[in-house]
């Protein structure tokens, strides 16, 4: 099957649900002889999970994320992807992603990490929170037997990157923390083959597994969904504090870090919140950390709210710039000037973007071409 033909044939199907900019990954990539590698399967994995402990009272405690689910025989944790079988804990999604596409890295969004690079983007079913605005709820809120999965070993994922000349693998769409073992093994193999790994996450992860994972990662984008605990409790179904701790840990690890804040009308869009966010970033991870304010679209359980007004996003931008943050972006506003990167010193355009396209780039070895200011990131 020719690649273009295949892309056409999946349009409207499960692989075609993502937005513009995506190259749909051909299921028969590399020729028909590899077809079996991309056939949908009902099989789930039975790989022993990492980071759990057996409890004296029976059952196990999962220690991957702050939920610390206590799970007895035949039951699953909150994310629905891990199962206790006779007090051994298993991940059911290792090597069984439900989404695989090649996206521009800008779509993640990562703006200071290999601009213009393509990223082989993988996800499995499941998530450890339940955001009422989730745009990928059809995979994130499912159990793995409810999505169309295909078998893909870590080595096969790396082989695709090499064959397709894709320099980056992104763990994304749902929540990679819940497919930790799969992500970890791909990232580890990727390092040996020069393929970089980026995690697109809500940052709801315990310090120990994060510490073990970070050396395998080159960049992390964290969706910091709000700067208020009650929003995390009521809208996300999680907690803010562990996310803030994880962000600091990522920053200190040296992995490249960018933050996204989805602005949801009436729920997390006050000026006080934007100001508090700016202060926190300034105090804990530094003004050079890129921050993306993203426009909300009514989806999933928040269909009753309108899309974020452009003026609200612009207000967030202004407040953060006024507070000294150097790289502030506005997302889901195609054509807006705040999609581009400007030099905080000379004000000239460093990277001009339109949507996911790079129109011009004025950074040379991490320096502004005009004033030689250091531009943080991996370029």
């Amino acid at each position: 099957m020719k690649r273009r033909l295949f892309i056409k044939s999946v349009a409207g199907g499960t692989l075609a649900t993502t937005l513009a900019g995506t190259e749909f990954l051909p299921r028969f990539l590399g020729g028909i002889e590899n077809a079996c590698a991309f056939s949908f399967t009902k099989q789930l994995s039975s790989k022993e999970a990492r980071f759990y402990k057996r409890l004296e009272s029976g059952g196990i405690e999962c220690q991957i994320c702050p939920r610390r689910c206590r799970v007895t025989d035949l039951e699953r944790g909150y994310c629905g992807t891990r199962e206790n079988r006779a007090d051994k804990y298993y991940t059911l999604v290792y090597g069984f992603p439900c989404s695989a596409n090649i996206d521009p890295i800008e779509k993640k969004p990562l703006f200071h990490f290999l601009p213009g690079a393509r990223a082989f983007s993988l996800a499995t079913a499941g998530c450890n929170v339940n955001c009422k605005f989730c745009q990928n709820w059809e995979i994130s809120q499912m159990r793995p037997e409810q999505t169309d999965n295909f078998e893909l070993s870590p080595q096969a994922a790396i082989d695709i990157c090499i064959r397709e000349r894709v320099p980056v693998i992104a763990y994304t769409y749902s929540e990679p923390v819940i497919f930790y073992e799969f992500m970890y093994d791909i990232a580890e193999l990727g390092q040996k083959s020069g393929i970089k790994s980026v995690m697109i996450t809500g940052g709801y992860i315990e310090p120990e597994p994060l510490k073990a994972l970070l050396p395998q990662l080159d960049a992390v984008k964290v969706d910091l969904k709000a700067i208020r605990e009650d929003y995390y409790r009521n809208i996300v179904g999680g907690q803010l504090k562990p996310v803030l701790d994880a962000i600091i840990q990522i920053k200190n690890s040296g992995a490249w870090l960018e933050i996204v804040y989805l602005v949801v009308p009436t729920l997390n869009d006050s000026e006080a919140e934007f100001r508090d966010l700016a202060h926190w970033i300034k105090n804990y991870i530094g003004i050079e950390t890129p921050v993306h304010f993203s426009r909300f679209h009514p989806l999933y359980l928040l269909k009753n709210l309108p899309p974020t007004p452009q003026t609200t996003l612009e207000r967030a931008y202004e407040i953060c710039r006024a507070e000294g943050l150097e790289y502030v972006y506005l997302g889901n506003l195609p054509g807006h000037r705040a999609e581009s990167t400007y030099c905080p010193k000379c004000g000239k355009i460093l990277i001009e973007r339109r949507g996911y396209q790079i129109l011009q780039k004025n950074i040379e070895r991490n320096l502004c071409r005009f004033c030689r200011k250091v531009v943080p990131g991996i370029f």
């Binding site: 009902k42 029976g58 059952g59 206590r70 007895t72 025989d73 035949l74 039951e75 699953r76 944790g77 909150y78 994310c79 629905g80 206790n84 339940n130 809120q141 499912m142 159990r143 037997e145 409810q146 179904g237 999933y300 359980l301």
Partner: protein, 318 residues
């Protein structure tokens, strides 16, 4: 007495019937025949009607009937195949078409493991899981309180009425696994609703529109009860109670089931569920939401015991 007078009398109280078998030889594996008798007694007592046909008519409207079983532990402690076969025999004997009966659970694999014969054909009783490709889950999200779920299309599209056939057992988080907890098996994301000992979620599942509309009867398999270490199977805590619990009030059925479970725990020197950190608050929540009765004072309980000769007596719950 006419049907109407009965319903007037019973409307003020929720009615629960427990039928117990004292036949020692039947204790481990009761026959379909024994279960049929128990079901007949239970349905008659529940409705006050002499004819089972009338009792079935009272609850089950014409159309396809779903029997939601619980097969989590496969062959070990799932809803008894003999109990389900007995119910089917009663339904068929009373004019229902075999093919209009569907035994279902989350997955065909679980059903198969519990000993149900899978059948998707147009002949005989059907049995399959939500996971068969032509069913799956609804596209629409159904919401009830904090529960937002896709619902098995077997429930939303295929059946007209639902008989819930759970197994009574202990649950490591919910405390009680009975009828309400078994309804977690009709939604796609039960894993999201175990916080706070499943409260208020287990109650709110009853408010999901197709559940509310179609759930007609709860028949809890309480023949062998695992009073601790559930919901997985642990033979150390299995005891024979020899009963079934019937009610058209799912909350009342679970309330009585909880009394039995707590009694068995106490009898085996185990702390109450409350003291074990697993208080069953979701029943009171369900009552507050007006889905049924959780106050024993408002439950009219009727216990019948079948002795080893098959004769019926007034029985006791414990």
């Amino acid at each position: 007495m006419t049907d109407q007078t009965i319903s007037i009398v019973y409307d003020s109280m929720s009615r629960v019937v427990v039928v117990r078998s004292e036949r020692p030889s039947e204790a481990k594996s009761p026959s379909v025949g024994v279960f049929m008798t128990m079901l007949e007694v239970g349905l008659n007592e529940l409705t006050g009607m002499v004819q089972v046909t009338d009792a079935i008519k009272k609850y089950i409207p014409p159309g396809v009937i779903g029997l939601k079983v619980n097969c989590l532990t496969r062959q070990y402690n799932s809803t008894s195949v003999a109990l389900v076969e007995a119910l089917i025999a009663l339904l068929v004997r009373n004019g229902r078409d075999e093919n209009d009966i569907i035994i279902w659970d989350r997955t065909s694999n679980e059903l198969d493991g519990a000993g149900f014969k899978l059948n998707l054909s147009s002949f005989g009783v059907r049995a399959f899981g939500t996971d068969v490709s032509r069913f799956g889950y609804s596209r629409e999200i159904y919401s009830s309180g904090e529960v937002n779920s896709l619902v098995s299309r077997i429930l939303t599209e295929e059946i007209k009425s639902l008989i819930n056939l759970p197994v009574l057992k202990d649950h490591s988080i919910a405390g009680l696994s009975g009828g309400l907890k078994n309804l977690y098996g009709v939604i796609n994301n039960p894993n999201k609703y175990h916080d706070s000992n499943c409260d208020p979620f287990a109650a709110q599942v009853l408010g999901i529109a197709p559940v509310k509309e179609k759930l007609k009867l709860t028949i809890i398999d309480a023949f062998r009860i695992q009073y601790n270490g559930g919901p997985g199977f642990d033979s150390r805590y299995l005891t024979e109670y020899g009963g079934i619990i019937l009610s058209d009030d799912p909350v009342a059925a679970d309330t009585v089931a909880l009394q039995i479970l707590e009694h068995l725990r106490a009898a085996h020197n185990l702390p109450s569920l409350e003291k074990s950190g697993r208080p069953v608050r979701y029943l009171a929540t369900a009552e507050r939401l007006k889905y049924g009765t959780a106050d024993v004072k408002n439950i009219q309980l009727n216990v019948k015991t079948m002795d080893s000769q098959g004769a019926l007596h007034e029985g006791s719950l414990f």
